[in-house]
């Protein structure tokens, strides 16, 4: 028996007013699959993954996350958000909470976990991103890479079915980039379903099962990384790769 997909988009469309941001998106992500989404800025990559936990709403088509169809019902949105973890470009740690408190907040207050247990779980995941030594630090006392690793731990604490990464390394210096990518690669080895919007082509090549290339709100090409990087089948993806390699 084939297990149902973790996420599936069916003819999904989204508009900002008259502007058509996402055009007839069809995409299925299997459980445990690692997807990298790339494409020029403004192509709708971030918007696409932000639909998955309802940070953006779509106007038509269907979106099914972990066998639950996304709609406007608050309970559905809650149910889906409960299974989806997300990391942002600018980490978005709460500045007034320590690394540990950032991780335990939603465990204690949304999931009603006893504080002791929440703390234990948070320390476990902080250790996995090698940040357990910084549990009592505030975000302002951490480097960008460290903050992003805490943010990853915070998302992992809820033990999500799917992890979304929205350009997790775009705001980092080169040294921090590799420490964050290492953590993400570890996650991939652990079998986490991951969707990453990123420009890190090395990471895509090494970790991704499939690469999705988007341009102007459309999925132009979906291919395994080897094919995508060596012989892209569309002129637009070839041009994009050319530009990235030239820099």
């Amino acid at each position: 028996m084939v297990s149902p997909p973790a996420i599936s988009f069916e003819k999904l469309n989204k508009y900002y007013g008259k502007f058509h941001v996402l055009k007839d998106i069809d995409l299925e992500v299997a459980k445990g699959e690692r997807i990298v989404i790339c494409g020029p800025s403004g192509s709708g990559k971030s918007t696409l993954i932000r639909c998955i936990n309802r940070l953006e709403t779509h106007q038509s088509g269907r979106l099914i996350v972990d066998q639950c169809e996304m709609n406007n019902t608050p309970s559905t949105v809650r149910r889906i958000r409960d299974r989806v973890g997300m990391c942002f470009q600018h980490f978005n740690l709460y500045p007034h909470l320590t690394a540990l408190e950032n991780c335990t907040l939603s465990l204690i207050y949304t999931r009603k976990m006893p504080p002791k247990e929440a703390k234990q779980r948070a320390m476990e995941y902080l250790a996995r991103v090698r940040m357990d030594g910084f549990a009592q630090k505030y975000p302002s006392q951490l480097s960008g890479g460290q903050q992003q690793r805490v943010a990853i731990a915070r998302s992992l604490c809820i033990q999500p079915e799917v992890m979304l990464f929205d350009e997790p390394t775009s705001a980092l210096d080169p040294e921090s980039i590799s420490e964050v990518l290492d953590v993400m690669a570890d996650l991939a080895i652990g079998g986490m379903t991951m969707i990453c919007v990123t420009h890190e082509m090395g990471f895509a090549r090494k970790v991704a099962d499939r690469v999705v290339f988007m341009d102007a709100g459309e999925i132009v090409e979906i291919a395994d990384p080897e094919t995508f990087f060596t012989s892209p089948s569309h002129e637009r993806s070839a041009r994009f790769l050319q530009q990235i390699i030239n820099h």
Partner: protein, 224 residues
């Protein structure tokens, strides 16, 4: 001038106590009143928001002295009705009336401070609350409120200091705060030096508050 202080030290101490306690209490109670109003001003639309705007405009648009007169002398006109309602004990007392006027005034200003600081919280914080599935209450109590409070602290401190000095108007509705005591001591001594002593009291009080505020602000070290 030193004699003016030492000879009347009991009265000065009493006045200082009243000024300090009334301004502190009114700012604290005013904060609790301002919190929901500021929140509504920042987030809500419709009738509730209009009510909040009306409250702020009414009490910010009226001089504190006028407000004190309205509460103390104005309500006094309805003494029989107030007696019937069992509220006369409150409105016949200059201390309570003064407190009420101070609270109405400062809560209007503080509501605007809270609204402003809530409005500066970036959308990325709101999105993070959503992504982490926080309930509305948790998001408000554990995230928005502490961040907004830290941002509001400097202007709130400013409001506190303004209130300390605004309490001197209480003397006019017969409260024996610092200024009230100064007036009676002056009427007995006819020495204008009395007001220097009063001024020094205010100055020291404000400096003490300023020192405390700085220490409180330092505790928010996470505000990078």
């Amino acid at each position: 001038m030193f004699d003016l202080y030492l000879d009347y030290i009991d009265r000065w101490s009493h006045g200082l106590w009243l000024t300090a306690s009334m301004s502190t209490l009114s700012v604290l109670i005013g904060f609790l009143v301002a919190l929901p109003i500021g929140f509504v001003r920042s987030r809500a639309k419709g009738p509730l928001a209009w009510l909040a705007i009306a409250y702020v405009n009414l009490f910010r648009g009226m001089p504190l002295l006028v407000l004190m007169f309205l509460v103390y002398y104005g309500f006094g006109q309805f003494s029989s009705e107030l007696r019937a309602m069992g509220l006369w004990w409150f409105f016949r007392d200059a201390y309570f009336c003064g407190m009420l006027a101070l609270i109405l005034n400062t809560s209007a200003y503080q509501a605007e401070i809270i609204r402003g600081s809530l409005n500066t919280i970036s959308t990325s914080v709101i999105e993070t609350n959503a992504a982490l599935n926080l309930t509305r209450w948790t998001a408000f109590r554990r995230v928005l409120l502490p961040i907004a409070f830290a941002k509001a602290l400097p202007p709130l401190g400013n409001e506190y200091i303004l209130m300390v000095k605004a309490t001197s108007l209480l003397a006019i509705i017969t409260v024996f705060d610092l200024m009230g005591e100064a007036r009676t001591i002056f009427s007995e001594t006819l020495d204008l030096g009395v007001y220097y002593v009063a001024a020094i009291h205010y100055l020291v009080l404000v400096l003490a508050i300023e020192w405390t505020l700085r220490r409180v602000e330092a505790r928010f070290k996470w505000m990078a």
